[in-house]
Amino acid sequence: MGGFLLRRVAGAAVMLFVVGSIVFSLLAVVPGDPAELLLSTGGGSATPEAIANLRATMGLDQPVMQQYAAFLLNSVRFDFGTSIIDGSSIADNIALRLPRTLEIIAAGALLALLVAIPAGTAAGLRAGGRFDITASAVNALLTSVPGFVVGTLFIYLFAQVLGWLPAGGYVAFAQDPVQHLRMLILPAVTVGLHLATIIFRMTRASVLEMRGHDWVRTATAKGLSRRLVIRRHVLKNALGPVITVVGMQLGILLGSTVLVEFVYNWPGLSGLLVTAVEQRDYPTVRAVILVVAAIFIAINLVIDVLYSLLDPRIRLQ
């Protein structure tokens, strides 16, 4: 187990390094002067002083290898420099907004797990039955609605027509807990809905697959009750693949939540990111992506370890 853990951690570290290198080198492969490119919003070109200034702040005037080393070193220390737009500290901006994004994702994932795992299990156990057919059909439809469409329609329905919930915005929890939670509901449900469709599908397929294995017949032959057979010999085995998918999807969610936040005016990473992309604030974009990729890699590391606890064979590979 120790060796397994060490290998996985080492693997994750290597991955992080590669991701960092790619993010850094993207700017280097762009044709032309990066500083000039970044300042060329809206067609107009920037003044030579502004370009020189940006070069200095981003360290673009130094040799590439030196820039690279500095970038990696600073990234490890969570120092991403300053925004080109307003000169604020990027690390501070991220530290302020990341928890809000994670909050939506956590709330959405929780909802999704609570609904989709029981539903998927029920559908998988009675595959071909009425519940399975209905749930699978609804699921297929819901999978097809992009998050920002769900969000837009939710706002129209729950905020505009019914007036039950605010259309968006954000209040800190400490300031007004009730309003904070009211504002959290729609974004969390929107994020959770898509995740739930994926988890439902995976759980159903996994349960269906595990039910067909020989050891399930062995368990029945031993005289275990159906309830025990399902719990110990179907569900426990089915959980591994589901966890893996949840891990992968959480990572993808870190990205697609940007859209949901945008729809609901939730001031998470998305606001920072969208403005940064519009303004070509490359250092900010790069930092956000690095942080998100790091979280993604960390999540998958945790999932790997969890899976290995569930299935001892994994540790051998």
């Binding site: 060796g3 060490l6 290998r7 080492a10 051998l316 590979q317």
Partner: protein
């Protein structure tokens, strides 16, 4: 008589799993295996799982690379051949597989399967093609009307016949039969064994017949080679090895074979087959051998003559 296939000191490692953070563990599946197949001869290879018998079959066809060996086939140095020469030489050596379901491409008709063989070596092109295809199906006892069908329309035994037809298409001199009848029910197995025996007589093809079933191997082979954990235990004429084994492992194997006629005096083997990752020192069989001596652990027993055209890798002569 010059041999068609001559193999000296065939060795094969596989990397398995990991050792520490970066190291790889090596598993030696074949050690110093030497064998000779004469024209028209059937050499049987027997052994249990992990004995390396299938690996030998693939290594002599160069479907996998071996670590070190001197192999000559029909006068060509097999290990020195370049890709193109090897490709051309494949016309003379073929293989028949165990699993009749995995050995045919489900998407190809029988015509396409056989034509691939003929096209590759530019045989029977043009007008002669149709006649050759018919002839091939005739040879393996299938109705030529089946040519445009796909594998899923055939039973296991029929598929195995198609596999044999594919091997015969290029008129090979040598065929590896890798557990070719093991997956078949006994009545179908008899049909296919008879077919192989007939083809061997009519075409003078040499076979390397790999199987875990001793009585099948005895019936079809001229000579038998017994393998255990990647090493040769015993070689000799089929009937002699089967009825008068000289090596304790062969004796145990024969005695373990379930038999209809008599309850044999069973030689009990202790424990399980050791892992190829950590085989015993000296004689690999000593950990389960009822006759093992302390000396068996010292050095690997060489294959030495043991009577009429026979070899064995055992230091004792006073048993059996």
């Amino acid at each position: 008589m010059t041999a068609i296939l001559e193999v000296r000191d065939l060795n094969k490692h596989y990397p398995v799993g990991r050792k520490g953070l970066f190291g790889k563990r090596m598993m030696q599946v074949l050690r110093d295996v030497s064998l000779t197949v004469h024209p028209g001869e059937v050499l049987g290879l027997v052994g249990e799982s992990g004995s390396g018998k299938s690996t030998i079959g693939k290594a002599v066809l160069r479907l996998i690379d071996s670590d070190s060996a001197a192999m000559t086939f029909g006068g060509h140095d097999l290990t020195a051949l370049g890709p193109e020469d090897l490709r051309r030489l494949r016309k003379d050596m073929q293989i028949i597989f165990q699993d009749p379901y995995a050995s045919l491409d489900p998407r190809k008709t029988i015509r396409a399967v056989l034509s691939e063989a003929l096209d590759t070596h530019r045989l029977h092109t043009g007008a002669a093609r149709e006649g050759r295809l018919t002839e091939l199906l005739d040879m393996v006892g299938l109705n030529p009307a089946f040519l445009d069908r796909r594998p899923h329309e055939f039973s296991g035994g029929q598929r195995q016949r198609i596999g044999i037809a594919r091997a015969l298409a290029v008129e090979p001199k040598f065929i590896v039969c890798d557990e070719a009848v093991s997956a078949l029910d006994v009545s179908i197995q008899a049909q296919v064994l008879n077919l192989l025996a007939d083809l061997r007589v009519s075409h003078g093809i040499s076979l390397l017949f790999i199987s875990h079933d001793l009585s099948v191997v005895r019936f079809i082979s001229d000579r038998v080679m017994v393998l255990y954990l990647g090493r040769v235990m015993e070689v000799g004429p089929a009937d002699a090895v089967h009825f008068h084994p000289q090596h304790p492992y062969t004796a145990a194997l024969v005695s373990a074979e379930p038999s209809l006629k008599h309850a044999p005096h069973r030689i009990r083997l202790e424990g399980e087959i050791p892992s190829p990752l950590s085989p015993p020192s000296g004689c690999v069989f000593r950990s389960r051998c009822p006759y093992a001596l302390p000396a068996c652990a010292d050095s690997v027993p060489p294959l030495r003559p043991a009577g009429d055209n026979r070899l064995k890798a055992c230091i004792r002569d006073d048993i059996l």
